[in-house]
């Protein structure tokens, strides 16, 4: 891991647990709901939320599809057992299969998006049932690359880990005692057998995090990234991905007509008044 990407995990934990506690309680809640996939990102969010709010105030929801890997379910259980959070298993098979049957030609992208959005429906329903806010699990790498489903796995009330690159997520997860099985396995959206993020993206998180750090945090130009040793094609591919996925990172633009328009000149933080 690049020295510049190394983080002080105690400080990160202090800031992120404080953030979760502050932003959930001032919204009038004391509990959190998290979709636990068995992967490292949701495991870390779960550990942080349990630390911030106490385990009994966190509901971890496992939402397998019938083809989901049994390892994912077991790894999620490891996180539940380790943290002592409340848990629930709600398979999405019965929710999504009718749509898959209606559109049998739907490709893997469509099917993956449908599953991600079905899980969002379950989480937001549990948000109301459990009385907790949905805590997000998207990291900085995937947000920048747009490697997520809009209104699916990216939907949340707050996101504690969205300013940590994937390799930093690994570092913090190790420090906070996320089970080894979860940390060491290849990251995967688990939409089909053998799928891995790195195969699909075409590069490793280790490599892309170093490049993203230069582009985003250090404001390197593409030419400077190439000078720093990254292949031109890789740099261009990543920069294009970042630009093309900007739409996933902002609220839909509202067409301005009046003198005061939400998003342009009606500006308030969400913490307004609290």
């Amino acid at each position: 891991m690049s020295a510049k990407l190394k983080i002080n995990t105690d400080l990160a934990k202090t800031i992120l647990t404080g953030f979760i506690h502050s932003e959930i309680t001032r919204a009038g809640f004391s509990r959190a709901v998290i979709g636990l996939s068995g992967g490292i990102d949701s495991a870390l969010s779960c550990v942080l939320a349990a630390e911030a709010l106490a385990p009994e105030n966190v509901l971890a929801v496992r939402m397998p599809y019938k083809t989901s890997s049994i390892d994912s379910l077991e790894d999620a259980q490891r996180v539940i057992s380790k943290t002592g959070v409340q848990s629930l298993t709600v398979p999405v098979t019965e929710m999504v299969d009718p749509l898959f049957e209606r559109f049998p030609e739907a490709n893997a992208m469509r099917r993956g998006n449908i599953m991600a959005r079905a899980r969002m429906i379950v989480l937001y329903d549990q948000s109301e049932a459990f009385g907790g806010l949905v805590v997000g699990t998207g990291n900085k790498t995937e947000i920048l690359l747009g490697y997520s489903t809009l209104y699916g796995d990216s939907a949340c009330a707050i996101n504690p880990i969205g300013d940590l690159y994937k390799t930093q997520v690994r570092q913090l997860s190790t420090a906070l005692g996320v089970p080894d099985e979860v940390i060491s396995k290849a990251p995967s959206a688990d939409l089909w057998a053998g799928q891995t993020d790195e195969d699909e993206l075409g590069f490793t998180y280790e490599d892309v995090d170093k490049l993203l750090y230069l582009i985003v945090d250090e404001r390197y130009s593409p030419a400077e990234c190439v000078d720093a040793g990254f292949p031109q094609e890789f740099v261009q591919k990543v920069i294009t991905r970042i630009r093309r996925n900007q739409f996933k990172r902002i609220l839909p633009p509202i067409a301005k007509l009046s003198n005061r328009t939400i998003g342009y000149d009606f500006l308030y933080l969400r913490d307004w008044g609290t």
């Binding site: 020295a3 510049k4 190394k6 983080i7 002080n8 105690d10 400080l11 990160a12 202090t14 800031i15 404080g18 953030f19 502050s22 932003e23 300013d163 000149d265 009606f266 500006l267 308030y268 933080l269 969400r270 913490d271 307004w272 008044g273 609290t274």
Partner: protein, 287 residues
């Protein structure tokens, strides 16, 4: 002469001036118990920081008639106070402001002269730029007030020093940023660094009150400090936690330090003025 200074390293409620006032008065009680002569609150302590469009709804005038300032002025009969607020002038310009209250009176109001409007900051969009840097007399001696970005520039502390300030009072609502493998954030490291530098360069007391808490995704890191005229750290508050931070300062240290190190005596202000004029003329005038 020894004096106790207290720094109210508080969290605030965004846009809820009444709730913030109540917290101020609570900290006044605590500071009195601690025997403090001066209690310093952070930047925008009465309103919260990232006000955006709330800014115009939470302004107050530092007068005895104002419902928020009346109890603060009353409290200032027992100890001096520095509070942060939004000031609206007669012509309805809004400023990020700090007021020094003492003996039931407003001794000084400072309008922030540097409004960061870059990166995560957007102050210039919502606030007017202050236009003066002046030291003022207090029961503790001559002091100067600067607010956050004001002391990221070297000139306001320098001017306060030349104008007579022996106690530099800095207030901040500094968003934490720059997580590395170090135990403190880069923003914290930088601010502490320059506070120590000002104390050393100006052989003055440098007092910094920074807030804590969160506003949406922003965290405020606290770590309020007092440095003495030798540049030694007298106290540092905890990071990311509310605290009343207490320091005892020995005003005689000014005498001892400046006897050893007469930087103020030797400062060539005429030279500065001549060179500044030359530089500004060369560049077609300054801002």
């Amino acid at each position: 002469m020894k004096k106790t200074i207290a720094l109210a390293q508080i969290n605030t409620r965004l846009g809820d001036v009444q709730a913030n006032l109540e917290k101020h008065l609570m900290y006044v009680e605590r500071a009195l118990v601690a025997g403090a002569s001066l209690l310093v609150f952070p930047e925008l302590s009465l309103t919260g920081y990232a006000l955006q469009d709330i800014a115009h709804a939470v302004s107050h005038r530092p007068t005895p008639e104002d419902e928020i300032f009346a109890p603060l002025l009353a409290a200032s009969r027992e100890l001096d106070l520095v509070v942060g607020f939004v000031d609206e002038d007669q012509r309805h310009r809004f400023y990020i402001a700090g007021a020094y209250l003492s003996g039931g009176k407003v001794l000084h109001v400072h309008h922030k002269v540097y409004l960061p409007t870059y990166g995560l900051f957007d102050e210039g969009r919502f606030f007017a730029w202050g236009d003066s840097i002046e030291a003022f007399d207090t029961p503790l001696g001559c002091a100067g007030l600067a607010i956050c970005e004001d002391f990221w520039h070297a000139s306001p502390p320098y001017l306060l020093w030349l104008d007579g300030a022996d106690i530099l009072i800095f207030t901040s609502a500094s968003p934490g940023r720059g997580l590395t493998d170090e135990p403190k954030l880069e923003s914290a490291r930088w601010v502490e660094h320059i506070n120590q530098a000002y104390a050393s360069l100006f052989t003055s007391f440098t007092v910094h009150a920074n807030r804590v808490g969160y506003e949406d995704g922003l965290n405020f890191w606290g770590g309020s400090t007092v440095f003495d005229p030798n540049g030694n750290l007298l106290v540092r508050g905890p990071y990311h936690e509310e605290a009343l931070v207490i320091a005892e300062i020995d005003l005689n240290q000014l005498h001892r330090t400046r006897a050893r190190l007469p930087i103020l005596r030797d400062e060539r202000t005429g030279l500065v003025q001549r060179e500044l004029e030359r530089i500004l003329n060369k560049n077609g005038g300054g801002r």
